[in-house]
């Protein structure tokens, strides 16, 4: 744990053992695995400022994730933030500031560990943001420095020998076909015989296995040197996880003189404040009744919810993840548990009361936090819908922009949104965005097109942002309708303007 002093060591005897003075030799590299906490003196002021600057960067990273920024954009933002608050110069830089920068990086990381170790949720978010920061820096690092940095740590990697490599040559190529084909004359294809492969238990690289990026044989993953970063990131993640848990256990025994804990409290709140909260059902205004849903669905639903609603009406049933996604969306819309039970009961009209109560009621109540673990689950965000619980062969949930084939998407959009001004000609634009993989941008464009009559212009999106949550889409749509009808009313009255004046 920390050695913390606000005054020079000679002022009072040191009860903690030797206090070292950090020197440039402590930080031979820009990157840091954060194995050992700083053992040198840190003033209280430094303690706070290092942490706050790092927090600015981590907060921005979290905001990027929350806003669904594509990876390239995210990297650019993180890089800019790092230059501003946490610059790290390479060894050969003339700035001579390397030592101070690296010390700040080191101290900041460990202070934030103290602030964010205290709950499972905080630990998870902190690790996610720290990993992203490390990843961006890792990719920026110069090859020469990276190589010697990696040598400082043993990853327990076993090099695949030539005989084994040749035995699996074709399979190794097929696992990463892109590496062995020439894209242009400038970039020659890799030579398998010269490429290094590491053999690790597959459990150390679950992300590579999940996406079938490596050959898996007998429980071993054959990781090409080009994917080595994955081993490094997984190692850091595991390391941070165990260290944070250890810190959490040690924290109550911190020898503290009432200066640090308030500061740490303050820091962990700062992390929360910097990020737009999950969609909050409490703010969505007036009550909604079960019999209003059809009307709202026609007028205000984004494609994902509309699809689920149409399927529910047609089949009088939805599969588990469909019920979950739609049920939580309805909760976000403001449907109370009583109205929700009524809505689902009427919708599942092919079932008897008995069947409904047995098979579905519990789940609906569970999603409102009234059963089991009693967690009040938030409605799913676009990020979650796009990446979690991918729909299987007979499922209806998910994001239509992502999970429909192009022709089905086009006909569905026309059927749902042509009454609101979407035309055949708009579809080309939308599908083009979909093909580029920007599903939430496509959804935002549909929102703009279908709300043009209420004055939403191209590029304006949902209050200036792209759609990141289905409930945000629906709420904005309802808000627009309300203000629109009110202004129309005033125009008809004629007296509205004078009244306002």
């Amino acid at each position: 744990m920390f050695q913390l002093r606000t005054q020079a060591p000679e002022y009072k005897p040191d009860p903690y053992g030797k206090v070292e003075v950090a020197g440039p030799s402590d930080y031979p590299y820009r990157l840091n695995f954060y194995d050992d906490p700083p053992t040198h003196m840190v003033t209280l002021e430094e303690f706070e400022s290092c942490a706050i600057d790092r927090l600015r960067v981590l907060g921005e990273i979290e905001a990027c994730f929350a806003r669904n920024r594509p990876p390239d954009e995210r990297k650019a933002i993180v890089r800019a933030q790092c230059r501003k608050y946490l610059p790290l110069d390479p060894n050969d830089s003339l700035s001579r500031a390397q030592f101070e920068q690296r010390k700040k990086d080191h101290v900041g990381h460990f202070v934030l560990r103290l602030a964010f170790c205290r709950s499972e949720e905080l630990r998870r978010r902190f690790i996610k943001a720290e990993l992203e920061l490390f990843r961006v820096r890792y990719e920026e690092e110069l090859d020469s420095e990276l190589e010697s940095f990696l040598k400082t740590r043993s990853f327990g990697l076993e090099l695949v020998d030539d005989a084994e490599k040749m035995k699996y040559a074709e399979l190794l190529k097929d696992a990463n076909p892109k590496n062995y084909v020439s894209f242009s004359k400038k970039v020659p294809p890799k030579d398998l015989a010269k490429e290094r492969f590491y053999k690790v238990r597959w459990t150390r690289v679950p992300d590579l296995v999940e996406h079938r990026k490596v050959l898996v044989k007998g429980g071993w993953a054959y990781v090409p040197a080009s994917e080595q970063s994955s081993i490094v990131f997984n190692e850091l993640e595991a390391h941070l996880k165990t260290s944070l848990e250890a810190t959490a256990k040690a924290l109550p025994r911190l020898d503290e003189d009432t200066r640090i804990v308030p500061l740490l409290d303050h820091l962990s709140k700062g992390f929360l404040a910097g990020v737009p909260a999950e969609w909050d059902a409490e703010h969505s205004g007036e009550d909604i009744r079960a019999d209003m849903i059809d009307d709202i669905a026609r007028k205000h639903y984004p494609a994902c919810a509309r699809n689920l609603h149409e399927n529910l009406r047609r089949d009088r049933h939805l599969k588990h993840f469909g019920r979950l996604q739609y049920g939580l969306f309805l909760k976000g819309l403001g449907l109370s548990i009583e109205e929700a039970l009524l809505f689902w009961r009427r919708s599942f009209s092919k079932f008897t009361d008995d069947q409904f109560n047995k098979s579905y009621k519990y789940n609906i109540r569970h999603s409102y936090g009234l059963e089991g673990g009693r967690r009040n689950y938030p409605p799913k965000s676009c990020q979650q819908i796009l990446t979690q619980d991918q729909p299987g062969a007979g499922d209806n949930h998910g994001c239509p922009f992502r999970h429909f084939s192009t022709d089905n998407l086009e006909s569905a959009l026309l059927a749902w949104y042509s009454p609101h001004g979407l035309t055949q000609d708009d579809l080309d634009e939308v599908t083009k965005i979909v093909k580029a993989g920007h599903y939430h941008v496509a959804c935002t464009r549909v929102f703009e097109l279908t709300h043009a009559a209420q004055g939403v212009k191209k590029g304006e999106g949902v209050s200036g942002d792209s759609v990141s949550h289905p409930n945000q889409y629906a709420a904005k749509s309802r808000e627009l309708e309300k203000t629109h009808t009110e202004s129309v009313k005033m125009d008809v009255d004629g007296s509205g303007v004078t009244m306002a004046l």
Binding site: E120, W220, Q390, S405, L409
Partner: protein, 419 residues
């Protein structure tokens, strides 16, 4: 004395089944990996499902006897097995929530016939026949090979789910210790058919296309499966199910053909001839592909599309959610399926093609056998199952358990150097 009829839904029949036939000792050893009770058993959640949809979770037992006695007391319709927790599940209410987390759990897979409804013609919904069981047996062959060859697991137990599906339990130490994240990785790795109802092309496992228009080869993991599945495709999809017979069926197939000219000409031809068998349609597609210039990007694209079609119609469709979380409950082997009355017996993956769900003993049949046996010799209660058709299944289960226990014993001997 007339042979008595046993109703498999009657509580007293199930109770009698638990008392005389259910192999509690074996299930204990299978979960515990050794003879003396360890945390693997004492910290393990068992959840009882009683009649009337009452669910009693977080039971745990000290040994096989207590396990049996409690089961007899509750007489559940069926029961499910959960993870090994960091504390005894029965103490859940008294320990801090942070101290009660799932630690170990067999890696499990669940394949259910309902996920095949869009590609089977013989039955639908809950019913299953010998013909559609072929989908399950193809899935078992592919998954069994993948788990053994690629992941190196050795202790796989396949269990018939009692009606229309099959479960797999992997008991290797490394599999027991997997985190949820790692479990998700295996499940995704073994999920090839994806995309909801509204997506035509459900197999997208190749890396995104390249500039020359040529497709990339299949990842090695999927290629291994393709060798098994090509044969299955011909026998099952083309011959047995005749899956491209009707308009809407072959229309689905044509949507997967990337070349619009080929798809168009086939559509015209097939519209003319209503009785063209599926096999003939498939060989016409193959013929059109062979007509393309050898080595051309167009031909390569068609070849890749044909491979993807085979996968889309035959690759195992696992219920990935079951595999992803340590704390997912799964029905215990040898329970009785409440609807069919059939016992959830282990299945030998090397003879999966010979397995017929309709030959699996039902609880009524077993009770009759037991009754008939009692008439000949009376008194002895232990090992009642020896006299019923449950015997070969319990023998198979015991052989599986001996393999697991041998490994544990060898590992223990290696670490114990006290002698």
């Amino acid at each position: 004395m007339a042979m008595q009829d046993f109703d498999h839904t009657a509580p007293e029949v199930i109770l009698s089944f638990y008392r005389h036939l259910y192999p509690f000792k074996s299930v204990f050893k299978w979960l515990n990996h050794e003879h003396t009770p360890s945390r693997l058993f004492t910290h393990r959640e068992i959840a009882f499902s009683l009649r009337g949809d009452i669910y009693i979770r977080y039971n745990s037992f000290l040994n096989a006897d207590e396990f049996k006695n409690q089961t007899l007391k509750y007489n559940p319709e069926r029961f499910e097995i959960g993870p090994v927790y960091s504390a005894r599940p029965r103490d859940k209410k008294t320990v801090r929530p942070a101290m009660f987390t799932p630690q170990l759990r067999e890696l499990v897979f669940d394949i259910d016939m309902t996920d095949y409804d869009s590609i089977r013609t013989c039955c639908s919904g809950a019913s299953v026949c010998k013909r559609c069981w072929a989908f399950i047996s193809a899935a078992v062959r592919v998954l069994d090979a993948a788990l053994r060859d690629q992941f190196g697991y050795r202790h796989l137990l396949w269990v018939y789910s009692g009606r229309r599906g099959i479960h797999c339990w992997v008991s290797d130490d490394e599999a027991m210790e997997l985190t949820d994240e790692q479990r998700r990785a295996v499940a995704q790795y073994l999920t090839v058919v994806q995309g909801g109802k509204e997506m035509h092309k459900k197999v997208n496992v190749r890396p995104p296309g390249r500039q020359s228009g040529r497709p990339w080869p299949l990842p090695p993991a999927v290629r291994d499966a393709l060798d098994i599945l090509t044969e299955v495709f011909v026998d099952l999809i083309l011959h047995d199910q005749n899956l491209f017979e009707r308009d809407e069926q072959w229309e689905e197939l044509l949507k997967l053909i990337p070349d619009p000219d080929i798809a168009g000409s086939l559509r015209r031809a097939w519209n003319m001839d209503e009785n063209l068998p599926s096999e003939e349609k498939w060989s016409q597609i193959k013929g059109k592909t062979k007509d393309l210039e050898k080595g051309s990007p167009e031909r390569d694209t068609m070849m890749a599309a044909l491979e993807d079609i085979v996968l889309q119609y035959t690759y195992p469709r696992i219920d990935a959610e079951v595999s992803k979380h340590r704390n997912h409950l799964l029905k215990a082997p040898f329970c009785v399926h409440p609807k069919t009355g059939r016992v959830c017996v282990p299945v030998d993956p090397t003879h999966i093609d010979d397995f017929d769900p309709e030959n699996v003993p039902t609880v009524s049949q077993l009770m009759q056998e037991l009754e008939a046996g009692k008439l000949q010799e009376s008194g002895e209660e232990q090992g009642d199952w020896e006299r019923t058709s449950l015997k070969p299944y319990i023998d198979m289960f015991e052989a599986h358990i001996i393999n697991i226990m041998n490994e544990v014993r060898i590992a223990k001997r290696a670490t114990d150097t006290s002698w």
